[in-house]
């Protein structure tokens, strides 16, 4: 086994250790540490990706001396390493871009705690991507939840704390359901490691015993993770939460954390239950319906908002709907669309949040649309980044948004009964997106109230770097998406396989 195979373990441990060390550093050092960490993690994940790609098959890495079903394992596949790369890179860009916002929003003495939390989130995302054990998943989901709550409430306004209480309540319901589901699953299969679960579940499915507990555990696990990632009926915490947190937190939460949960759900579906069992149980139809509702109602909510961050939050709810729509359609094409949309959203939403924060800064810190009038001129780069992100969310060709919509639509066409609802939902939600994003952009470029001068050049530089990177990623992946799609398709083949 080549040395590269050890890198994920080192990454995970390194992020845990960094999080512990950061607590005794001061804010600046902690920030550098965690940014270096995410950069290193990104590089390592790329190396792992290269290795797995060459091997052509996934690789299981023992966490200890004992193989499954006895000891913990992690699983190095194409999708796992690729997504951990994406998560790390986006995390790095978020922290890079939100430098000023962080220094403004964080209390001087507690700044390092923020980066403790981001390191923990980094670790949790890595584990959620790599793990091969459903209970390890549960533990790190909890870490992720607590840490997200931490980066939400660190800016201790009343609204922020209230929002994080809501966030905690919702996501604790989610993890409670998830734990119950895992318990029932363990009760009927006696396994926690995904590969063994896979065999056991398949066998139960064929023999047909414990059918009801199996189905109910699938429901509980899916619903739990859906609640945590903010699927439609449970997305009410989103606007408050993203509306009043510091923009970096909103970016990380909407771009990464919820996506981490979804990725873990996909992992459980594919290498845990197995697509046959999951898509036989009919739960995917529920996801499909709620996904569509999320797309529509999220956009409607966004139209009603007059606060730019809350609008973005609502649109995040809509985007989550897209992902679940994809999962609900079909295990092959649909999931490819969903994965691609996860990428799209992870690349687009953070830059929207960050540039929105910059713009509101030029407008004297207000988030209302009427005060943002004309801020596009005061900070051209932010205006450009925001507009590009908005276009991508609308789904204009040559951006990633169009590609993911295209993939979802094609997937929908293959599924006989879901074709028409899918396309209708896509069209309707796209029109709604157009409505509120166009409104915002026009606001930004309508010359209006005299604005406070834009941020100093150095600050702009730190933001500009990440904004440009995000925009380039968006355009690049939108213009030539074929290698990306090929990678996802290739990875998905190995996703279900037991390495």
């Amino acid at each position: 086994m080549s040395f590269i195979a050890n890198l994920p373990l080192f990454c995970i441990v390194a992020s845990l250790v960094c999080s512990v060390i950061s607590s005794v550093l001061n804010g600046k050092l902690a920030r550098w540490l965690s940014m270096a960490l995410s950069l290193a993690v990104a590089v390592c994940s790329l190396l792992v990706l290269g290795m797995v790609w060459q091997n052509g098959e996934p690789l299981t890495y023992l966490m200890g001396h004992f193989p499954h079903p006895w000891g913990n394992e992690i699983r190095l596949g194409i999708l796992e390493s690729f997504f951990s790369f994406v998560f790390a890179a986006v995390m790095f860009l978020c922290m890079q871009g939100a430098k000023i916002a962080l220094t403004q929003d964080l209390e001087a003495g507690k700044r390092q705690f923020y980066f403790v939390m981001t390191d923990l989130i980094q670790a949790a995302l890595l584990v959620l991507a790599y793990t091969n054990d459903i209970f390890t998943g549960y533990v790190f989901i909890e870490i992720c939840t607590l840490a997200s709550c931490g980066i939400l409430m660190i800016r201790q306004t009343g609204r922020a704390i209230l929002a994080s209480v809501r966030y905690m309540i919702f996501s604790l319901i989610g993890s409670g359901l998830f734990l119950l589901g895992v318990t029932i699953l363990y009760g009927i299969t006696g396994h926690l490691l995904l590969p063994s679960l896979h065999e056991a579940a398949a066998e139960l499915w064929h023999t047909g015993d414990y059918r009801i507990p199996l189905t109910s555990s699938i429901c509980l696990i899916t619903v739990g993770l859906a609640i945590k990632s903010g699927l439609f009926p449970f997305h009410y915490w989103m606007p408050d939460t993203y509306g009043c947190a510091t923009p970096c937190s909103s970016a990380i939460l909407s771009g990464l954390v919820s996506k981490g949960y979804i990725f873990f759900l996909l992992k459980v579906i594919f290498s845990g239950f197995g697509t046959e069992v999951f898509y036989g149980s009919g739960v995917q139809n529920v996801l499909f319906v709620f996904g569509i509702c999320g797309m529509i109602f999220g956009s409607i909510g966004a139209i009603q908002e007059n606060d730019i961050f809350r609008m973005l939050a609502n649109s995040s709810a809509a985007q989550i709907g897209y992902v679940y729509l994809g999962i609900g359609i079909s295990p092959e094409a649909g999931v490819i669309g969903a994965l691609f949309h996860i990428l799209t959203h992870a690349v687009t939403k953070p830059v929207l949040f960050l540039s929105a924060s910059r713009l509101s800064d030029t407008a004297g810190g207000s988030k209302r649309f009427k005060d943002l009038q004309g801020s596009g001129y005061a900070f051209p780069l932010a205006g450009f980044a925001f507009s590009l992100g908005a276009l991508s969310m609308i789904g204009i060709p040559m951006t990633m948004g169009f590609m993911s919509k295209y993939l979802l639509a094609v997937a929908g066409l293959e599924a006989t009964f879901k074709a028409v609802p899918t396309l209708l939902a896509l069209a309707l939600s796209t029109i709604l997106n157009t409505f509120y994003f166009a409104r915002t952009i026009i606001r930004l470029y309508t010359p209006g109230t005299p604005l406070s001068s834009a941020a100093p050049w150095r600050a702009q530089a730190s933001f500009g770097l990440s904004a440009i990177c995000f925009s380039l990623l968006n355009l690049g992946a939108g213009i030539s998406a074929s290698p990306l799609i090929a990678l996802l398709r290739h990875g998905l083949e190995f996703f279900g396989k037991v390495g």
């Binding site: 086994m1 050890n6 373990l9 080192f10 441990v13 845990l16 250790v17 999080s19 512990v20 060390i21 607590s23 005794v24 023992l62 966490m63 200890g64 001396h65 004992f66 079903p69 006895w70 000891g71 913990n72 001087a108 507690k110 705690f113 403790v116 939390m117 923990l120 670790a123 584990v127 054990d133 209970f135 390890t136 533990v139 790190f140 909890e142 870490i143 607590l146 840490a147 709550c149 931490g150 409430m153 660190i154 800016r155 201790q156 306004t157 009343g158 704390i161 119950l180 029932i184 009760g187 009927i188 299969t189 006696g190 396994h191 056991a200 414990y210 009801i212 507990p213 109910s216 555990s217």
Partner: protein, 300 residues
């Protein structure tokens, strides 16, 4: 706090007019970043009617749906339980080759007589690694919320503690050492019998809290202040992570670890389990005490 007061406290939860500052500790002067102060200017009267209307109608319909939802949930779960393997049945799917290996091979593979300790600290050590970091995350979150930066605390509050009755003090004088010793025993015995880092650490933490209640924080502050706490947690967790990283690395690459299981049943055996238990125990004890102290007075 006195009994009648406690009842008043319980009653007043719903109404919320009870002065929390007596029920919990009085931390009025805890600095608040954006200047919201204890006596807040907003009363409930000037809330505009519309919102109250919304809330009212919402409240009318909401409990009904909630109850219905829960009934559905109960039915659903009961149906599930009815199809689950019967309680205590030895042939349930959960008791499979996994359990067999844990019980039969566990002792020579991990060197732990207490199979559970072997499972959580060797077979499934990765979970436990995460678990201790959950605790750490929670501690950090509580710090973010409640840690007062100008480390003042509140003198009068501590005076109150100092005036606590002699009965408590004399009892504490006897009990605290026993509690702490017992906790240490539980930690060190983790791989031999029932016990382990978490339980032992909790016991020690309880002992420390009892001591703090009886004698106030000053004596403890000398040995366990924020700096010390951070260093302890830092060292313990780093040791934990790195040690585990080492053993994972060896396991994955099929190398021999330097930690041999040793002879089962001896105090120094079971490879890494004992040191890990100690590390976890220290972390848990300090965190428990830290929670109490920080809830009590906003600092450690």
């Amino acid at each position: 706090m006195k009994k009648s007061e406690f009842r008043k406290w319980l009653k007043s939860w719903d109404a919320g007019e009870f002065d929390f500052t007596e029920a919990l500790s009085d931390r009025a002067s805890l600095p608040q970043p954006d200047g919201g102060s204890k006596d807040h200017p907003w009363k409930l009267e000037p809330i505009n009617r519309l919102e109250q209307g919304e809330i009212k109608s919402f409240r009318k319909s909401y409990p009904f749906f909630a109850v219905v939802l829960c009934c559905i949930m109960i039915g659903f779960l009961l149906l599930t339980v009815e199809h689950l393997p019967t309680f205590g049945a030895p042939d349930a799917p959960a008791h499979n080759e996994v359990m067999e290996r844990y019980v039969e091979k566990g002792m020579e593979e991990t060197g732990a007589v207490n199979v559970v300790a072997g499972v959580i600290l060797d077979y499934r050590a990765f979970d436990t690694l995460g678990e201790s970091h959950v605790l750490y995350t929670a501690a950090t979150a509580v710090f973010i919320l409640l840690l007062s930066l100008k480390g003042g605390g509140e003198p009068e509050r501590e005076r109150k503690i100092m005036q606590s009755d002699p009965l408590l003090k004399s009892t504490a004088r006897i009990i605290v050492p026993l509690v702490i010793v017992y906790g240490i025993y539980v930690i060190f015995n983790g791989h031999l019998g029932p016990g382990g880092g978490f339980s032992g650490g909790a016991v020690i933490g309880g002992g420390l809290i009892l001591y703090a209640i009886a004698f106030g924080f000053e004596p403890l502050d000398k040995i366990l202040n924020l700096k010390v706490y951070r260093m302890i947690v830092l060292c313990a967790l780093c040791f934990y992570s790195l040690a585990k990283c080492y053993s994972f690395f060896c396991g994955a690459n099929h190398l021999e670890t330097i930690f041999s299981p040793g002879k089962a049943g001896m105090i120094f055996s079971a490879g890494l389990i004992l040191p890990l238990n100690i590390a976890v125990g220290i972390v848990v004890a300090c965190t428990m005490y830290g929670f109490y102290s920080i809830f009590q007075r906003g600092r450690i």
